[in-house]
Amino acid sequence: MILGNTYHLENRPGSSLLRHLGGLSTFVDWNRSSLTDSGGFQMEKGVSFQSPIDGEQMLLTPERSTRIQNRIGANVIMALDDVVSSVCLEAKRFEEATHRTLRWIDRCIAAHQRPSEQALFGIIQGGVDLRLRSTCIEEMNTRDAHLPGYAIGGLAGGEEKDAFCRVVAQCASKLPVNKPRYVMGVGYPLDLVVSFGKQTMKGSS
């Protein structure tokens, strides 16, 4: 499965052009599966990016991210989430991010124009706080009918390995067993082995 970067592909060559050319897989001649990342960091209404090419600002809202990913055409698309660095010291920030992520998942579901062709994955946030994670999972589960898969986000950002293992174990045990679970950003071989049994992991090392 190849991973396309929503932000960079929107910059160059542009998602509208990609749709015109037949979608990402046709463009790069890849007949297996593909996934686009939503491009999440932190912001108020959405996520603001500055182009490395011309400095132009791009505001990435849940709607915009989802529609761009619809045009790029990957098999799996990711919800735009509010992800906080796992070594952030403010507990309140994680709480804010968890609730925002839940508000945004509804907006992503509403904006998704190709639900029968592209699988939208919801992303569980909450830092290393098991209570927050639990809240997030329970709430996310109420949208289960619209989510072909789930991801465990906000990890592999420098947190202690014990915390990492606890969160992955908890999430995996509470997420629906009949749906793929994608542990995001996990690249080192040891982390892959630990995550095994979670069905999907991203290889980025």
């Binding site: 060559p13 052009l17 015109h20 463009f27 001649d29």
Partner: protein, 459 residues
């Protein structure tokens, strides 16, 4: 092991009573016995040696080279790329010897001192009787025959061109004394290298480099001298100091012929620096058998795809039809042709060419297209419609354009695959024309087409 064997196709041998064939296009076979093959490997000539950097094609891994016609495994290797501080031992000490050093395993390897793309002399440094210079990775470096012999022993090529004092032909008006001096040095270095390498266990074949600058008489004298004094020890001849600013066409061919005519007809001739298609025609008309494909490397690094037809189109109308193309998604590639014809404003089918105005905008010419051009941003066609190379069967111009704009390495890989494939097809077309006796028409087609597409208006 043990050098190269080249055989002229008997149809092109001089008739009984003719002392030498008047140099002209001819067919032959170049045979080597690679160390990792059970038997000999032959490739037809005329052919183009694949350009390498430090022994490897610049952007192609071994599996990519396998996508090219099999004669692409005949490599040109420039010693200049190796002349850094490491020295020959790190190659020669490889288990199994230097021939195993390279990742891409050529079936034939010809070594020359300098890179075909550069002339390494400059105004500040003069050759002496003991040394000349090459443009190494660490700067201009002296090279002697001793150095050269050590490197030959380390790399173990099938053949090499002896070290030469090159006087590039642009230096018209160089005093004849300097030209004669260059010829004399070149012959002296040849003799020394023949001496040093004749005991080599791998017995590489030796090509003499024929000099004489821009002076037709001096070229003839240099060639005659070398043939007379060393001819029996030589496997072939390299015509040096061309592709260096001399006027193409008659003038260039007069220099080539002056060097070639004194040489025995049954030995191959190699020339570096005559790489673009029209230059290749000049070379073949003068009787050259081996050229090199650094032109492909140059095109790739500048983002050009070769898009010229290798031969005149067939006279029957529509006989070719849409070629079946492979697509990863299993769909018939022709489907895309039909969609494209509907989508695009320009009508451009297989065999039809962009008009002059468009070429002006895109920065291409009669032989190549500039894939950086924004005109290709949404172009779903392959680099060259109808081309059967790996790149053209799978990828669209818009993708190669995108890769270039993003400075992605894959652009060079896809372009190299196409350009070397296409250039080898061009060489194949020259062989077909020579074999059919239609080379004159073949050459005229290319020259007229180039003049028509790139020439000045006559009004």
């Amino acid at each position: 092991m043990g050098g190269i064997v080249w055989e002229l196709d008997p149809r092109f041998a001089p008739a009984d009573g003719e002392s030498t064939a008047r140099p002209g296009p001819r067919l032959g076979t170049l045979t080597t016995t690679p160390w990792d093959h059970p038997g000999p490997v032959g490739v037809p000539t005329p052919m183009a040696l694949t350009y390498t950097r430090r022994g490897e094609p610049a952007h192609l891994t071994p599996d990519n080279v396998d996508l090219l016609p099999r004669e692409a495994r005949t490599f040109h290797v420039s010693l200049a790329h190796f002349m850094d501080h490491l020295g020959p031992d790190h190659v020669g000490n490889m288990p199994g010897g230097g021939r195993r050093y390279f990742g891409c395993r050529p079936t034939c390897m010809l070594v020359t001192a300098r890179d075909p793309l550069t002339f390494d002399q400059d105004a500040k440094q003069s050759n002496t009787d003991a040394h000349t210079f090459v443009a190494s990775p660490t700067g201009t470096t002296k090279i002697t025959t001793d150095d050269y012999a050590r490197w030959i022993e380390a790399i173990q090529p099938d053949a090499f061109v002896a070290l030469a004092d090159e006087s590039p032909s642009w230096r018209d008006g160089v005093a004849l004394k300097k030209t004669k001096q260059a010829s004399a040095r070149t012959e002296k270095w040849l003799a020394r290298l023949l001496e040093k390498t004749k005991e080599s266990p791998t017995r590489p074949s030796v090509f003499a480099s024929l000099q004489g600058g821009a002076d037709v008489r001096e070229r003839r004298a240099c060639a005659e001298g070398i043939v007379e004094r060393h001819g029996t020890q030589l496997a072939g001849f390299a015509i040096g100091s061309v592709g260096a600013g001399e006027t193409p066409g008659e003038h260039r061919q007069s220099l080539l012929r002056a060097s070639i005519e004194p040489t025995p007809w049954d030995k191959p001739r190699y020339v570096a620096g005559l790489g673009a298609p029209l230059d290749v025609l000049d070379a073949l008309e003068s009787g050259v058998d081996l050229v090199e494909s650094s032109f492909c490397h140059q095109c790739t690094t500048q983002g050009y795809a070769l898009t010229f037809p290798v031969k005149p189109p067939p006279t029957t109308n529509g006989a070719g039809g849409l070629k079946k193309r492979k697509r990863c998604d299993g769909k018939d590639g022709n489907e895309r042709h039909e969609r494209v014809a509907e989508d695009e404003e320009r009508v451009a089918e297989d065999g039809e060419e962009e008009d002059a105005n468009r070429r002006l905008l895109t920065g291409g010419d009669a032989f190549k297209s500039n894939m950086w051009a924004l005109a290709y941003r949404a172009d779903k066609r392959p680099l060259l419609p109808g081309c059967k190379c790996y790149t053209c069967e799978r990828y669209m111009r818009a993708y190669v354009h995108h890769l270039l704009q993003c400075h992605e390495m894959t652009a060079a890989v896809l372009l190299d695959i196409h350009n070397y494939f296409h250039f080898n097809k061009f060489m194949e077309a020259t062989r077909e024309a020579i074999g059919a006796g239609t080379f004159a028409e073949f050459a005229a087609f290319h020259r007229e087409r180039a003049a028509r597409m790139d020439g000045d208006d006559e009004t």
